[in-house]
Symmetry: C2
Subunit: 188 residues, 2 copies
DNA sequence: ACACCAATGTCAGCCACTGTCATCATGTAG
DNA sequence: CTACATGATGACAGTGGCTGACATTGGTGT
């Protein structure tokens, strides 16, 4: 399916990852990435929408995991139970690739443009979760609030899971955050 | 305090606003904005960090309102009550400038880069709210979760307040969202 | 009068990103 | 076996966001 060395996309992904980690995101030009991958700048933009997107390639799988888990949750599960199931399902996915996640996140949090892109992905995740919840018969407002809760808990859990001082499983952080949520919203 | 026409920043802000509304964000160059304001492209970048920031100038006031309201809340108020006070305090600020807010939001939601910047502002708001809650003696995790709740409720309320089909006060939307939150998190 | 200052102008340049056309190995039809 | 269609890549020119360096200018303080 091509006469050139296969895996052009993967090579550029790895080259970008390395260069961003070595000298930083801003200090890396797209031409640098393409050169290390043995390709052209133009080819880079045929595979990735922009210089940032290369770091987020494959993040749709998380969206899929969340939505399918929510949709497949028992019909009698409450909205909170449905998103809890989704958050728990994501646990192993993260625990398996902790090292990579830490490196990736250190690159992202060091650069504002990358943070902006990450926030956009989270916003899309929220929309997708809300849509999944609506398929369970939830109203629009309830779905929005629950979806925001879900992604909020996810984000907070992830931030704490990344810290070297908290070497716990991702699921543990999720349960701690959920417990806090329950405490905060408990009627006084 | 200057020999040139005063209010350079305001003129560029208005010019940008008009042009973004007339022909769209992408179709407007910074040179266009500067020309309409009677200034130079270079001067634009002396006042605004980038082409997007001109639409977000002055958004620190919302952060201030939230943080001060939370810090000044009664010492015996629960975290939920503190953020409720902040959300209620923001009501009048929005109801007064509904038309402008609608136009601004229509520009922002039409362009991905602008959405990304807006999400970044919301993330910073979340951080600020969490810091304010921590001054009330709240733990880190509880502060993070509550802050996320606060900005989440705010975002959802704002989205619904903007819709032409829901001509209610901002505070009403806040209370509806808070009621949903209570229903969702109520122990079964 | 003089030096100083703060906001703007001018100019050159980098780099992200795009449109367009040429190129070339592979698969397939003839 | 040849010819052509195909899809990925190369080559090249161009736009526009953004920055650095230096000059300009009119008001301010001494």
């Amino acid at each position: 399916m091509g006469r050139w060395e296969p895996g052009a996309l993967g090579r550029m992904q790895q080259a970008a990852f390395e260069l961003y980690a070595e000298r930083g995101f801003e200090q890396t030009t797209v031409a640098d990435i393409a050169e290390r991958a043995g390709l052209t700048e133009r080819t880079f933009f045929r595979h990735f929408a922009d210089k940032r997107e290369v770091l987020f390639f494959g993040s749709e799988s998380l969206v899929d995991l969340f939505t399918t888990t929510i949709i497949d949750a028992p019909a009698d599960a409450t909205p909170l139970q449905a998103i809890t199931a989704a958050l728990e399902a994501a646990g192993p996915l993260f625990d398996e690739r902790r090292a990579g996640a830490v490196l990736r996140q250190s690159i992202i949090s060091a650069n504002t443009p990358l943070m902006e892109r990450e926030l956009m992905k989270m916003a899309k995740l929220t929309t997708a979760v809300a849509a999944a919840l609506r398929t369970r018969g939830l109203g629009e407002l309830a779905a929005s609030v629950t979806a925001d809760l879900c992604v909020g808990i996810f984000t907070i859990s992830f931030q704490r899971w990344i810290l070297p001082s908290n070497p716990q499983a991702f699921g543990d952080h999720v349960h701690q955050a959920l417990a806090e949520l329950a405490a905060i919203t408990a009627a006084p």
